[in-house]
């Protein structure tokens, strides 16, 4: 005979205001196997938990039911309390008599009380048949893979490696630094971008715990959080080399093989610029003196005179066009690329400083200069450097003599504007870097409607992907500027460090399992499992469960024609007993 303890929570007035909790206790005392049924004002409070712990020890209870709020709220709390009294935590269950009962039947105390009794009775029957379970323990490979060697990837790699863990940094191009290496300067630090970046690259390439592979790509990923297997190949050849193209260093023999085990993956694949050829109204890339902001960065970066591509003349009138494809659902991308307002303010300022007598115009829709010192920075561009800001869109660009004609509108005066420019700089949208979709597929990580990697939660989990163990840094997740990318890259590193701080992962043991004698290896469970947790054992020829991937959804239980697939502590006999309890 079981000795179940039932603790009915008042939850202040939340439950007791509607449900007659004493009547529930009285009814439960008459249920066979219930050794104790009592009520308490707040079971989750420290005295409430103490009551549960003391009752387990004094009365030798072998199961506990807490009739209170949703298990999503306090199941962990009560299981922890039960465990500290020496009882297996999986012999404790919550009966939800708040969300499912008192809150929805406030006008009908009598019915609510009857329903509460029924709910608690069913859970008592379940607990009677629950088995004690142990937490699953899974090993963690404490090595990280960082994909992308731009500023975000560099920062993540450094933060992880400085904390003591080995990192493999895989970069597709020949060099590290990404888009930041193409910049002349950052907004606030005009000249220092290359120095700042060089420091980071230096630190990464000389770091004893970071191995860099350039011209390499992740070609295959399998496994799960803590235990990924990745195959890294040199582009095109699938042959492995280290970052200088030499033979892999001897102290890291893992790279000799094509497979590498890592525990966490950080995606820092950055962005690309939208192609000019996709902007027909702006010349579709056919006008030599219409360039994008990255090309203009290249001119500024040389430090020499600014000369336009067509004839090498110093441009006297330069028109900057913001939102050249951004915020334009019909012709370009629907989203705001976030960095362009500041990039253009910087470029216009630098142009004004370098070309005496030159005039810079900026066409804009809204000036988005939100950030420390950004507002002031744009004001300075206008007031100190004489950059002329025009609120409106540019409808068309076309070559005329040696100039580029710019047709636009000033929405503040309501008048059309025409500028004969020597050079036009387009702030084209930031788009996901080429190959993002394929990589996302290999990683089984989701992307959003715009093709960027999707974060697990837009507010509270911005650096995690929806796939456990895969984290996001920098513009791979969406347009962002350098400080934001760096802060987020460190954030992704923190998630990796948290994961690596444990020698092994523990996981809830409430997963599917197979009664092998009943299994006919038909493979139905393999097909229905949405988490790739099921497979057929090649030797024993029965279905097996990868507990690390199983999310306890129960799809296999329903699909299995032989009732061979089951979930721990949700067995068919438990369901039947629960139903029997109330009918």
């Amino acid at each position: 005979m079981s000795k179940i303890g039932v603790f009915i929570c008042h939850c202040g007035h939340n439950i007791a205001g509607t449900v007659d909790v004493e009547a529930v206790a009285e009814a439960l005392r008459r249920v066979p196997g219930v050794a104790l049924a009592t009520t308490y004002k707040y079971c989750c409070s420290e005295p409430g938990q103490k009551l549960i712990r003391d009752s387990i020890q004094e009365q030798g209870l072998d199961g506990v039911v807490v009739a209170a709020c949703s298990p999503a709220m306090h199941e962990t709390t009560f299981r922890r309390a039960v465990a500290s009294a020496g009882l297996n935590p999986y012999l404790c269950e919550c009966a939800n008599i708040r969300e499912l009962c008192s809150w929805v039947h406030q006008g009908d105390p009598e019915q609510a009380t009857a329903k509460a009794i029924a709910i608690v009775q069913t859970i008592v029957e379940k607990v009677k048949r629950d088995e004690p379970l142990e937490m699953l323990k899974l090993p963690i490979t404490r090595r990280a893979l960082v994909i992308g060697g731009g500023i975000a990837g560099l920062q993540t790699a450094l933060d992880i490696a400085d904390a003591g863990y080995p990192v493999l940094l895989v970069e597709r191009s020949q060099r590290l630094g990404g888009k930041m290496a193409e910049l002349s300067g950052t907004y606030l630090n005009f000249e220092a971008a290359s120095d700042l970046l060089a420091q980071k690259i230096e630190a990464v390439t000389h770091h004893p715990r970071i191995e860099v592979l350039t011209e390499a790509e992740v070609v295959e990923v399998s496994g799960y959080v803590g235990n990924f297997n990745v195959r890294v190949g040199r582009l095109g050849t699938d042959k492995l080399v280290n970052w200088e193209g030499q033979a892999p260093s001897t102290n890291l023999p893992m790279y000799q093989s094509t497979e590498l085990a890592v525990g966490a993956i950080v995606v820092a694949t950055g962005y690309d610029r939208y192609p000019l050829s996709a902007l027909p109204e702006y010349g579709a890339g056919q006008i030599a003196d219409v360039i994008d902001t990255l090309a203009f960065e290249g001119m500024l970066a040389t430090g020499g005179e600014i000369r336009r591509p067509s004839d090498g003349k110093v441009p006297r009138e330069v028109v900057f066009v913001q939102c050249a494809g951004s915020r334009d659902p019909e012709h370009g991308v629907p989203y705001c690329s976030k960095i362009c307002c500041m990039v253009v303010a910087k470029q216009a300022t630098m142009y004004a400083r370098r070309v005496a007598g030159g005039q810079a115009y900026v066409f804009y829709m809204d000036i988005r200069s939100a950030g420390r010192g950004y507002e002031e920075y744009v004001d300075e561009a206008m007031q100190k450097h004489g950059v002329l800001y025009v609120r409106g869109k540019v409808s068309r660009l076309f070559p005329a003599d040696s100039k580029v004609m710019v047709w636009g509108v000033d929405t503040l005066s309501g008048r059309p504007i025409e500028v004969a420019a020597d050079l036009v700089v387009l702030a084209t949208p930031m788009v996901p870097s080429a190959g993002t979709a394929e990589l996302a597929q290999r990683l089984r990580a989701a992307t959003d409607a715009d093709g960027f990697f999707a974060e697990a939660h837009p507010k509270l989990r911005p650096v995690e992907s929806l796939t456990a163990g895969i984290y996001l840094a920098g513009a791979a997740q969406g347009p962002k500027d350098i400080p934001e990318a760096i802060a987020q890259a460190s954030g992704a590193a923190a998630k990796v460090l948290s994961l690596f701080s444990h020698e092994e992962m523990t996981q809830d043991p409430l997963v599917a399992y197979v009664i092998e004698e009943l299994c006919s290896a038909c493979g139905t469970c393999v097909e229905v499992c949405p988490y790739q947790a099921r497979s057929i054992h090649p030797v024993r020829n029965v279905a097996i469960v990868n507990a690390a991937l199983c999310q306890n959804c129960g799809a296999c239980v329903v699909a299995c024609p032989n009732k061979a697939s089951q979930v721990f502590n949700w067995k068919p006999e438990q369901f039947l007993a629960m139903v029997d309890a109330i009918f």
Binding site: G12, K41, Y42, S45, E46, P47, T76, T77, I151, D159, D162, A163, G164, L188, N189, A193, L196, K200, P334, Y335, C336, K338, D366, R368, S369, A370, G371, R372, G373, Y374, E375, E376, T411, L412, S413, G414, D450, E455, P458, K459, L460, P462, V463, G478, I482, P483, E484, I486, A487, Q488, A489, S490, G491, A492, A493, A494, L497, S498, S501, H502
Partner: protein, 500 residues
């Protein structure tokens, strides 16, 4: 044991604390208010997904409350910090306002150590005995204007900040509690005087009219937790890293005389409108204007109320207002479909994932009218508010008779952050926000070794940016602790003899 101190338990401090604690280190989390969650706990729904703020926040606050590695100290303030190691030993003696810009960046793997003094304010409730049953709050006869409800609702003199408060333990507001105020009147020793009240000159030991003692809460408390003789308590903690996550305040409408200077009841700020939208707020989620409880049919939202205004407000952009105003106007239209919402803006700044699309939805689907221009004046007239503005696109003056005006007031550093900065020798900018070691590439580190920064204390930012950055600050702490751990391991492997 390596430990970190996190100052401020809004969403930034919560995220920092959880990331460090989940990595196996101890965290002391200090919060000035009686419960954690910060401004995020006041929000109704969050942009751009319209997730309920409380619903996504509560699991985090509960996790903090239960975490074995987090020592949560609410209703507490840091009163001093001293460095115990030699390297940054001058910390405690730095003058307020002294510029610290060229300090060497921390290189050593020696762990810094700080001695932190923390004052826990008297709650007049023994939280070890209190079960959070709420009987005291029900019986307390004194009603006080609620700060959490932005002045639009009431709380009792004994109260918890919000229904989902963590910890769910009440404090007694000594300024309004009948028992404590009458006790002060009778007292000759001044035992129960609240230090904050003495500082503010609100109470004195003599000349106070004697009121009847109350003590109802003590009588109804089932566990005898009411402790009228409780005093402020001082604690000392030793920590190896400090993260400041002190957050923001909003500019007081009293500093905006042209918008009524805080004297017009139906001119409210953004946080107040959040409370009106909130199901747990003073109007239970119904849009009712404060003056007469009527449902407002014409609502004007004024962006950049004090922001981007170097002459009268602050020079910088407050970054979050464009998005929350779009959300406010959209939710208002959901609540009051036949109402009209107008938004005055200078630029619409919707840079973020799904933000641009969200603003477009507000304008196109919800039918919010966006007017590009500033509001020059708000004047009361016949029970309504006349909003004088300009539409710079048509070049015309606009006048709207509104029932309610919501000001998106400027985001300021939280009160007291300059005091903390001075205490730690940190640099702060002209507006009082903390300055990072390098704005571009070291955004979460301060100039002082072992001190890191997270959240809106660094300048206005929204929740996702705050959370990502808070994890970034946690990474710096973890890195510091791990480096010191390795050094320690090497020493324990036989290198200790080398010390001279």
């Amino acid at each position: 044991m390596r430990r970190a101190l996190v100052v401020g338990a809004g969403i930034a401090g919560i995220q920092v604390a959880l990331d460090i604690a989940n990595s196996g280190y101890e965290v002391v989390l200090v919060e000035r208010l009686p419960s954690i969650g910060g401004h995020m706990a006041q929000l109704s729904e969050t942009f751009p997904t319209l997730d309920c703020s409380q619903c996504i926040l509560t699991p985090r606050t509960v996790e903090v409350g239960h975490h074995p590695n987090i020592k949560l100290m609410t209703y507490s303030e840091v009163i001093s910090v001293e460095s115990v190691d030699g390297e940054s030993g001058k910390l405690g003696h730095r003058e307020a306002g002294e510029q610290v810009t060229n300090l060497p960046i921390y290189q050593s793997t020696n762990l810094p150590e700080f001695r932190v003094r923390i004052r826990r304010k008297a709650a007049y409730v023994d939280w070890n005995l209190c079960t959070g049953c709420g009987a005291c709050q029900e019986k307390c006869p004194t009603k006080v204007i609620s700060e959490f409800e932005r002045g639009m609702g009431q709380r009792k003199a004994i109260y918890v900040v919000s229904p989902q408060a963590v910890p769910n333990k009440p404090v007694i507001d000594a300024e309004h509690c009948l028992y404590l105020t009458s006790k002060q009147g009778n007292s000759t020793t001044g035992v129960a005087l609240h230090p904050a009240d003495i500082e503010a000159g609100r109470v004195s030991a003599v000349g106070k009219p004697r009121r009847p003692r109350c003590g109802l809460c003590a009588r109804v408390c089932p566990t005898g937790a009411i402790a009228f003789d409780q005093e402020d308590a001082l604690f000392e903690e030793r920590v190896n890293a400090i993260v400041l996550a002190t957050g923001y305040d909003l500019l007081s409408p009293t500093r905006l005389p042209e918008y009524g200077g805080g004297r017009l009841p139906d001119v409210i700020d953004g946080l107040a409108f959040e409370r009106l939208l909130s199901a747990s707020g003073p109007t239970a989620g119904k849009i009712r204007r404060p003056s007469d409880g009527a449902e407002p049919k014409e609502v004007v939202f004024v962006q950049c109320s004090g922001s981007r205004d170097p002459e009268r407000g602050v020079p910088y952009c407050s970054k979050i207002c464009c998005m929350y105003t779009a959300k406010h106007a959209m939710l208002y239209k959901h609540h009051v479909p036949d109402g009209h919402a107008y938004v005055f803006y200078i630029d619409v700044r919707a840079g973020g994932k799904g933000y641009e699309e969200f603003v477009n939805r507000a304008a196109e689907e919800a039918g919010v009218v966006y007017l590009r221009g500033k509001v020059s004046k708000i004047v009361p007239q016949d029970g309504r508010l006349v909003v004088w503005g300009a539409d710079t696109l048509s070049g015309q003056r606009v006048e709207i008779a509104a029932d309610l005006v919501v000001l998106a007031t400027a985001v300021l550093p939280a009160a007291g952050s300059e005091r903390l900065a001075a205490m730690l020798g940190l640099a702060s900018d002209g507006s009082g926000f903390y300055v990072p070691a390098n704005a571009e590439i070291r955004p979460v580190e301060s100039h002082v070794p072992g001190v890191f920064l997270a959240g809106a204390g660094l300048g206005p930012r929204d929740i996702p940016e705050t959370v990502a950055q808070a994890s970034g600050a946690a990474a710096k702490v973890l890195k510091l602790f791990a480096a010191a751990r390795r050094e320690g391991d090497e020493e324990s492997e036989g290198n200790t003899e080398v010390m001279e």
